[in-house]
């Protein structure tokens, strides 16, 4: 009894009990799991990753065929997840920014329209929207046999959009280099012009010079005749489209669903951020003669960013996690590929461990990046 009244002893005791309980539970799970697996003749370990996959993946961000390894199939899943989340974040942020600003419009009609947009998106589950967009695409567009050719080489059907694909014969790296050089030169010119403008108050933004500097190397490469590009135009066969770049309905439905879902959250965050900026900032900007749009862009938004970035991070992370709903409409993201692997190899524990590990790792990466950005836009105390 004496021991239990000692706070220091109790602290150690509680921690000891907690850790032992966790270890005990872990050990119990491990031993039953290994006994069960042995009984079902399932091998443990990650050896299955180097086995031949033996299944096709309908959409591959990196090259893949069924003779490749299971590990590479999972890698394709990761690439697909990253691809769709990245694009959804891009589109969702831009749409959300405009909707959020529209919410604050002095025009009652526009602000209410934007409110309705946000409410309709936020109060209905994302999964329902994904299924809805997907079935709408399937319903509205004709089957492949009657694909609409709205531009030469552009086919629209319920198996997606087929567009001509670029094929580089030669000169790809020369063009890439030219673009890089041009971009560096343009950025340099812009920053010099900016510094001079801040120092002297004279001179334009130098955008004409910057554009010229950017275009010059590109035009030079093109004029040298080194460049040779082919367009691979899709062709309508009897049952399917062959060739070209194929954008699938699963991808479009997932992208649209994720981007719209994010845009509603971003709109609310942007609105909150702008409203958090002191009214005096608006009034001071107006007093200086700035029109409302310039006041927003130059004075209010930069200050609002400080409030906006932390919740934005959480929303970007949830887009990334929500992309796992892809499995419901058949877009081969990490979870769906893992599910296929699980069904084929029976390695449930290892496969789930892999995809949970990938999600955790990428989540940490995204939050590190966003924390870095947040530190950049945070208030610099002098």
């Amino acid at each position: 009894m004496l021991f239990l009244n000692d706070t220091r002893f109790r602290a150690v005791f509680y921690q000891f009990v907690a850790i032992s309980l966790v270890l005990l539970a872990g050990w119990a799970m491990y031993s039953t799991a290994s006994a069960n697996l042995e009984k079902q003749d399932i091998a443990t370990g990650f050896g299955f990753l180097s086995r031949q996959a033996g299944f096709e993946i309908s959409e591959t961000a990196i090259a893949f065929q069924s003779t490749d390894s299971v590990g590479r199939a999972i890698l394709v899943g990761v690439a697909n997840t990253v691809k769709v989340s990245f694009l959804a974040v891009l589109f969702g942020t831009v749409i959300g920014l405009f909707v959020g600003i529209g919410r604050l419009s002095t025009n009652p009609l526009l602000s209410r329209l934007m409110l309705a947009y946000v409410e309709v998106l936020r109060n209905v589950p994302l999964l329902l929207y994904l299924l809805l967009w997907y079935s709408l695409i399937i319903l509205v567009f004709p089957p492949v046999k009657q694909a609409i050719q709205f531009l030469p080489g552009f086919f629209l059907s319920n198996s997606g959009l087929a567009v001509p694909a670029l094929q580089w014969q030669s000169g790809f790296y020369a063009l890439l280099g030219a673009v890089a050089i041009g971009m560096a030169a343009a950025l340099g010119a812009h920053s010099i012009a900016r510094r001079r403008r801040i120092a002297s108050g004279r001179g334009g933004s130098g955008w004409a010079l910057a554009t010229t500097l950017f275009l010059l190397p590109v035009v030079a490469v093109w004029a040298s005749g080194q460049l040779s590009i082919n367009w691979e135009v899709p062709e309508l066969g009897r049952f399917r489209l062959t060739g070209g770049l194929h954008i699938r309905p699963e991808f479009v439905a997932l992208l649209v669903g994720l981007a719209l879902n994010l845009s509603a959250s971003v709109a609310e965050i942007v609105r909150g951020g702008i409203q958090a900026v002191n009214r005096g900032q608006w009034e001071a900007a107006m007093a200086l003669g700035l029109p409302r749009s310039l006041a927003l862009r130059l004075v209010v938004l930069p200050q609002a960013l400080r409030v906006i970035v932390p919740p934005l991070t959480n929303n970007y992370l949830s887009v990334f996690k929500n992309s796992s709903l892809a499995i419901a409409i058949g877009y081969p993201d990490l979870v769906m590929v893992s599910n296929t692997v699980m069904n084929q190899t029976g390695q449930a524990i290892e496969t789930i461990a892999i995809f949970m590990g990938v999600y955790l790792g990428l989540s940490v990466l995204i939050s590190v990046f966003m924390n870095w950005y947040n530190a950049r836009v945070a208030l610099k105390e002098r």
Binding site: A11, Y14, Q15, F16, A18, I19, V22, M29, T32, A33, A35, N36, L37, K39, S105, T106, N107, P108, L109, L110, L113, E119, V120, R122, N123, V124, P125, L126, L127, L128, Y129, L131, L132, S135, L136, L139, K321, N322, S324, L325, I327, A328, V335, N339, M342, A348, I349, I352, F355, M356, Y359, L360, S363, V364
Partner: protein, 364 residues
């Protein structure tokens, strides 16, 4: 004359422009504003025209699926014919008054419990001792001459509500415990708390549901099987508890440390300080945020359809695949489901905003 030009001394004397001119200012103040008004108005009119045309003018009100196939509008016979299946799933047809009664009892009790003045120990005991047992008896049967209905037959809207409500009810104490663990002075407890919270928040819900559906049976000793519904429920509870823990942590951080120290210096034990002094203040601050989380969990329960449970979204999807209606009523089914989810989420959202004003403690 000077008098007439002097500024009014008090705001009451300010001359407000007449109502009509204010209206004109708001909608057509500048050319740009007029343009925005015209475009927004056009969009609203177009949407209204589409909606009215689809819902009423082109709609089929009675007839078979063939009539719906011909028409471009909404197919009301589908909703009428499939409504009971969509709401209650495979629950035995003659017994469907029971889930309906349970649903009404649940919604009614929730509506009454939303009044802050009624909150207290009495309401809590009323839920635990009367309402929840009654709901369970209605759904499961087996006593009072009610036919037993196994959980594998449960489905539709009652299941969606159950998953989210029971999930929150169990996740709340667990989440509070996790938040306390995370704020604890004992390093081992803190590390365990942080580890659990961050891992669960770092992975998608679907992966935790997969764990419950596929992995958990492997961890069970021979012969022990856990009901599929229960496994999904446990997954949702664990998932929700990590998010609740983070919200509660925000509330705990808002309570000044002096409150804790004052309690300790009065000789109160750690648990007494937490339960009687710190948590009441912290939880009051985060109630609106918790309601917000509840909306999110209610929407997230739709994910159980991926592991094959018959929640509301799943029964709607199954109804759409009925051979008689296949490919005819897709939009109708999904929009009906969307309307139901919208209704409940919007009501809860409005309630959350009301609570925020009521406590006058806007979260964050």
């Amino acid at each position: 004359m000077a008098d007439a030009q002097a500024l009014p001394a008090t705001p009451e004397k300010l001359v407000r422009p007449p109502r009509r001119s204010r209206w004109r200012e708001a909608y057509f103040g500048t050319p740009g504003n007029a343009f925005v008004t015209l475009v927004s108005g056009a969009v609203i009119l177009l949407l209204a025209k589409l909606a009215i045309g689809w819902l009423f003018l082109d709609a089929v009100f009675d007839g078979s699926s063939d009539a719906c196939k011909q028409s471009s509008g909404a197919c009301w016979p589908f909703l009428a014919g499939k409504l009971r299946y969509m709401l209650f799933g495979f629950y035995p047809f003659e017994e469907q008054w029971r889930p309906l009664a349970a649903l009404l009892l649940f919604v009614g009790s929730c509506a009454v419990s939303m009044i802050p003045r009624l909150w207290g120990r009495g309401l809590l005991f009323c839920w635990i001792l009367v309402i929840l047992p009654l709901l369970y008896v209605l759904m499961a049967g087996g006593v009072f001459g009610l036919t037993p209905v196994p959980t594998s037959k449960w489905g539709g809207l009652p299941l969606s509500f159950m998953l989210s409500f029971v999930g929150l009810a169990f996740a709340l104490p667990l989440g509070i415990g996790l938040a306390l663990a995370r704020a604890s002075d004992l390093p081992a407890i803190r590390v365990l708390g942080i580890g659990f919270i961050e891992v669960v928040r770092g992975v998608p819900l679907i992966s935790i549901l997969f764990m419950a559906a596929v992995m958990l049976p492997l961890f069970m000793p021979d012969g022990v099987t856990i009901d599929k519904l229960l496994r999904a429920q446990v997954a949702i509870i664990l998932f929700a508890s990590a998010y609740i823990a983070e919200v509660v942590r925000g509330g705990l951080q808002d309570v000044p440390k002096g409150q804790f120290e004052a309690g300790r210096s009065l000789g109160l034990h750690y648990w007494q300080v937490m339960f009687k002094i710190v948590l009441p203040q912290a939880l009051k601050k985060v109630i609106p945020a918790l309601v917000g989380l509840f909306i999110a969990f209610f929407q997230d329960t739709t994910l159980v359809t991926i592991i094959g449970l018959l929640d509301f979204l799943d029964t709607v999807r199954t109804a759409l695949r009925d051979p008689e209606w296949q490919g005819i009523a897709v939009l109708e089914g999904y929009l009906f489901a969307a309307a139901v989810y919208f209704l409940f989420s919007a009501v809860m959202g409005a309630y959350s905003r009301f609570l925020e004003r009521h406590f006058n403690t806007s979260y964050r």
